[in-house]
């Protein structure tokens, strides 16, 4: 078994792929005074000013592009491009993932010093677009929409004619379960959410120390994916205005369902990505995990003793016979408005995410699940992940599931919605209030924030 500290650290790694700033932040030390905060802001600005140039190049030398990203081992993938493109050299600058990087990119862009290319999570794109950080590259990329699933492509176009990024990886959701424990308790893999609830009850009846799974108030991206599967559309562009419906019927249904199971005490209510959760997955206290295609990497990290004991199946469905899933995580490669060479940067972004050689390297070196359809059938994905060696069809099944991922349009203030999710659902669990109230809180906070900032809202 890995050291407990190592297991806790794992959450940092996976906050990249998933969402969430679960990482405890400590920028300013113990005493965050007004001055301390402002000093830090200035210091960051100074570092940025000194640190990075947005691709200035001499006329005779090659074009130099800077690329901020957090995917592991990305530099070795980029090396392939650099060798075959002597005129356009790309340098990867490794970043802390997810929300931390959004904050940093926003600051850099404010100073006019953003890199040429950034890795951007889908739900962060509207925020970055709204702040004029990322550029529309539709004029450079041609028609590549066929390369990607419809749902994925929608996340980089927001349903408009613009192209704000090239999809890199996706996170179609699926169900992971302990084959051995399901056998021991004589359970079958649930195909509908109704069966899932029955299974949860059966687990509690068989062994009061175990739960089927947990509802995490710490993972808004996870809940968003479950709501998508049920048919939720949290944001929509209606003409010239945003239509925000986080408390739509589908989301309320999902909230009510999980709230009921938590109130019944057949589903645990503790957050994911804690040492407690790691232990529970490792020792079989939790029998299943509703997660996404990148799940095996996490399981390997937190529950290393259970290799070969897990199975993967499609997410349970709301209507029997239906085939839908939502997405948790995933990111794109975007070109910034600060770039002096948007055309070359866009060309690189397309190459990185669609060229067979590049996507194969991304799968092998960076361990991502590629967004490109052709890459999903790549030879690199013929073998199952090592942790799932017992399930040889892992990736062909994953590819089938990925095709059923529904499209989603993210809004310009997902950050507000997500931070409200954590507080509202945390409070609902602690206080024992209905989960549907928490959904209404999310809607209210999101709409208020958009109204205060002046976004046009459809009424």
């Amino acid at each position: 078994m890995k050291s407990p500290l190592g297991m806790w650290r794992n959450q940092h790694r996976w906050s990249n792929t998933a969402d969430a700033p679960r990482t405890p932040h400590r920028f300013f030390g113990k005493a965050t005074t007004v001055a301390g905060k402002a000093t830090a802001t200035l210091a960051v600005a100074a570092t940025l000013a000194a640190g990075c140039g947005g691709g200035d190049s001499d006329d005779d030398g090659p074009i130099e592009l800077t690329y901020w990203a957090w995917a592991p081992e990305l530099a070795s993938v980029v090396e392939i491009w650099n060798e075959s493109h002597p005129d356009v050299q790309v340098t990867v600058v490794e970043q802390a993932g997810g929300d931390d990087m959004v904050t940093r990119v926003l600051a850099a862009s404010e100073a006019g010093e953003a890199p040429d290319l950034i890795q951007a999570e889908y739900q962060a794109l509207p925020t970055l677009i709204s702040n004029e950080v990322v550029a529309d590259v539709s004029e450079y990329v041609g028609d590549i929409s066929d390369e990607f699933g419809e749902g994925t492509w929608q996340q980089v176009t927001l349903g408009t004619d613009a192209v704000w990024g090239i999809p890199q990886d996706t996170g179609p959701m699926m169900l992971y379960y302990r084959i051995d424990l399901f056998e021991q308790f004589n359970l079958s893999v649930p195909t509908t959410w109704e069966e899932f609830a029955e299974t949860a009850r059966a687990v509690r009846a068989a062994d009061p120390n175990r739960y089927l799974t947990t509802f995490s108030a710490n993972d808004p991206g996870w809940f968003a994916g479950l709501a998508q599967q049920a048919g939720a559309t949290w944001w929509e562009v209606e003409g010239d205005a945003w239509n925000v419906e986080i408390d739509d019927e589908a989301t309320l249904r999902v909230a009510e369902y999980w709230g009921g199971l938590v109130a019944e005490d057949v589903i645990d209510d503790q957050p994911m990505y804690t040492p407690e959760w790691n232990t529970a997955l490792n020792d079989g206290t939790l029998l299943a995990w509703v997660s996404a295609v990148w799940g095996p990497g996490v399981l390997e990290g937190v529950a290393g003793d259970t290799a070969g004991l897990w199975g993967m199946a499609p997410l349970p469905q709301w209507t029997p016979g239906e085939n839908r899933t939502g997405s948790w995580g995933g990111s794109s490669t975007a070109v910034t408005t600060d770039s002096d060479h948007p055309e070359e940067a866009a060309e690189f972004a397309v190459w990185l995410n669609t060229d067979p050689e590049a996507t194969t390297a991304l799968v092998r070196e960076s361990n991502i699940y590629p967004a490109s359809r052709q890459a999903q059938a790549s030879p690199a994905l013929q073998e199952p992940p090592e942790f799932f060696s017992n399930q040889p069809d892992f990736y062909s099944l994953a590819s089938e599931i990925a095709d059923t991922a529904v499209g989603v349009t993210w809004g310009p203030n997902v950050n507000v919605t997500y931070s409200t999710y954590r507080d509202a659902f945390g409070a609902a669990i602690t206080d024992g209030t209905p989960f549907t109230d928490a959904v209404h809180d999310m809607q209210e906070a999101t709409v208020n924030d958009m109204r205060d900032n002046g976004f046009a809202l459809a009424e």
Binding site: K30, S130, E132
Partner: protein, 319 residues
């Protein structure tokens, strides 16, 4: 630099006197210059910038997606209005008061007790005791919280294991109420040593003759502690109280680090956490700046008020 200025002046006769007279007046400023420059650069300017930010806000038009859809405009006092009317800020303040109400007396009481014990006449392993009590202070708050976090989680905690082995009922150390004590415990563990050293140093500065005459008068060690030592270290106690109160108002690292482990701590659990969330999770640096100014002012008023209240006692020897 000083010499180069003086030499040409002393070469010419008439202005020499004037320059020599000017020099003593300039000297203090030259010595002060480095401190003033640093103060202006790293304290005054950031404060001014924060106040400036607190008066601004973002104005979006339409969908907010096209170029030029977002601009920064003057907000007047809107951010301040929003900051002080958000009940979550005051609920956070209330939580901090409760937390401080547990933390400050326990920590300072323990610090005073340890200091008195170390100062007592018959103590063995004084150095060892002093260092081992002080050592937790050297552990950064985040590290300490990570460590305590493991001790608070049932599946990985030895406490829960022991309770189970002994057949005792389990306690939830991260519940809605118990989390106050769990957090205060981390700060007590980390802060007692520092405060003990401050009080102990003050104790060592008390002249030995006072104890001698007290003993001749038949005073017991306990009475010496209560009637002589504690009153004489009052200035140190007041100082450590002020520092503790300020530190309490600014508590951030411990709850922020513990937050991912439990549903009981929200992202606005303390006022500073709310500022952090507004600035970095919600991208509203303007509201965060306004809230920062409000909290800084409150902290300032509270600290000055407390000092004024106790000034006569604290600094009577200086007057």
């Amino acid at each position: 630099m000083a010499t180069t200025e003086i030499q040409p002046a002393s070469a010419a006769a008439p202005p020499a006197q004037g320059a020599r007279r000017r020099w003593p007046r300039l000297a203090p400023y030259l010595f002060l210059a480095p401190a003033i420059v640093l103060f202006v650069l790293f304290l005054l300017l950031p404060i001014i910038y924060t106040v400036y930010l607190s008066l601004r806000r973002v104005q979006v038009s339409g969908l907010g997606l096209g170029p030029g859809a977002r601009s920064e405009v003057w907000a007047g006092l809107d951010n301040y209005r929003d900051a002080v009317t958000d009940m979550e800020l005051w609920r956070g303040a209330l939580r901090v008061l409760l937390y401080g109400g547990i933390l400050t007396p326990v920590m300072l009481g323990a610090a005073l007790l340890f200091a008195l014990l170390l100062d007592a006449q018959r103590v063995r392993a004084r150095r060892f005791a002093r260092i081992s009590i002080f050592l937790p202070y050297a552990v950064p708050a985040v590290t300490a919280t990570l460590m305590w976090g493991f001790l608070y989680l049932p599946a990985v905690s030895p406490f829960h294991y022991l309770l189970e082995e002994l057949g005792l009922p389990q306690v939830d150390l991260l519940g809605r109420v118990s989390v106050f004590f769990s957090l205060a415990n981390i700060a007590v563990w980390g802060g007692t040593g520092f405060n003990m050293i401050v009080i102990y140093t003050a104790l060592r500065a008390i002249p030995a003759e006072i104890y001698e005459s007290a003993r001749i008068d038949g005073c017991s060690e306990l009475r010496i502690a209560l009637r002589i030592k504690i009153p004489m270290v009052m200035p140190a106690l007041i100082m450590t109280t002020v520092f503790s109160v300020i530190a309490t108002l600014q508590v951030f690292s411990e709850p922020t680090t513990l937050r991912p482990l439990t549903n009981s701590i929200s992202s606005t659990w303390t006022p500073l956490m709310k500022i952090y969330r507004d600035a970095f999770a919600r991208d509203d640096i303007y509201l965060a700046a306004a809230t920062s100014v409000v909290i800084a002012l409150i902290t300032l008023v509270l600290s000055l008020g407390f000092l004024r209240l106790v000034q006569r006692r604290a600094f009577q020897d200086e007057q």
